[in-house]
């Protein structure tokens, strides 16, 4: 098939944090290597890095900041970042071929997080999300993304 010829694009994993740094949700798809620390430590490390990089980016900005920190990339992966004015932070790691993901992350916020968590009065905010409905919708949303490919490495 045509899409198998070139380097495959993929989504590795996704974190959702609230404004207090609590990791509300984590899921992964094609993560070949783990960080070697507990998940709790990993979330803290990730959130701490985001917190620092945000303030670094705005301090160092030679121009007026607009959206602030959006993404970084290494030689192997790309981290996409989206933050709402209420401090909900969505982080998605993909491989390098994936283009700008702001719209995708905004969609996760507005059509999944807000619809299935915030608007459900029985879903507590500020703690790990228990909603299976949310998890399954998120799962199918990610799998349906044009750049999602389960086999890529």
């Amino acid at each position: 098939m045509l899409r198998n010829r070139k380097i495959e694009m993929t989504v590795h994993n996704l974190y959702i944090f609230d404004r207090n740094g609590t990791c509300l949700h984590y899921s992964e798809w094609n993560r070949k290597k783990q960080a070697g620390i507990s998940k709790e430590e990993e979330y803290k490390l990730m959130y701490g890095m985001l917190f620092s990089i945000r303030s670094f980016v705005s301090k160092m900005s030679p121009l007026d900041m607009k959206d602030g920190f959006l993404a970084f990339q290494t030689s192997r992966y790309k981290l996409h970042y989206y933050e709402t004015p209420t401090g909900v932070k969505i982080v998605m790691n993909t491989d390098l071929g994936v283009p700008n993901c702001r719209d995708v992350l905004h969609q996760i916020y507005s059509t999944l997080y807000v619809e299935y968590i915030v608007k459900n009065p029985l879903c507590a905010l500020g703690e790990t999300l228990q909603s299976e409905l949310f998890s399954s919708r998120l799962e199918s949303f990610i799998r349906a993304l044009p750049f999602f490919s389960a086999r890529a490495g």
Binding site: K44, T86, G87, V88, Y113, P121
Partner: protein, 180 residues
């Protein structure tokens, strides 16, 4: 627990009498449950707050509004976008304090009070106090601490309904404790 999948971000039509009567039933029940008006006002504010902290997320998801640059912009967004979206009215923004940290929303009409007349034994009841809580909760989520209160109310014989909003401070985001 099945949910309809054809959700849209457009606002759906709802019978406004049902909305008004539901709010009325809520206030009435609170008046039965609590001894005095002060306590009812407090409960309404608290409920509003809990609504506000969730409603702001819905607001951000639907509108393309980003972070405001100053309190004047916030005032405009509240009046022209938020009130319009959720209550179908557009209050006017007036009476700015010289320092620009305080303003009034003047409501020509208030859908919550369509059928209401305050009885004499509830003279200190702030019937629509829920709105104050909503505004306070919503703004707190976008890092703004504000004080919100009713300055005038047509239910108490004033000509207009006036909500007074005062900016207190910007809430700084902190790194959770115990992190290195």
């Amino acid at each position: 627990m099945s949910r309809q999948s054809n959700r849209t971000t457009e606002s759906k039509k709802m019978n406004s009498e049902l909305f008004t009567l539901t709010y009325g039933a809520l206030v009435t029940q609170l008046c039965k449950d609590y001894e005095n008006d002060e306590e009812v006002n407090k409960q309404l504010d608290k409920m509003g707050y809990n609504i506000g902290v969730r409603l702001i997320e819905d607001f951000l998801a639907r509108s393309s509004v980003g972070r405001c640059h100053d309190f004047r912009e916030t005032a405009d967004v509240i009046a022209k976008v938020a009130f319009k979206m959720y209550l179908g009215i557009t209050p006017s923004v007036t009476n700015w304090s010289p320092a620009g940290d305080e303003f009034s929303l003047i409501l020509e009409s208030n859908p919550l009070v369509d059928f209401v007349e305050l009885p004499d034994n509830h003279s200190t009841l702030v019937y629509s106090n829920l709105l104050c809580g909503v505004l306070r909760g919503a703004l707190e989520m976008v890092q703004m601490a504000v004080d919100v209160r009713f300055a005038q109310d047509t239910l108490r014989g004033d000509n207009v309904t006036e909500i007074r909003m005062k900016f207190i401070k910007r809430i700084e985001e902190n790194l959770p404790a115990g992190d290195e």
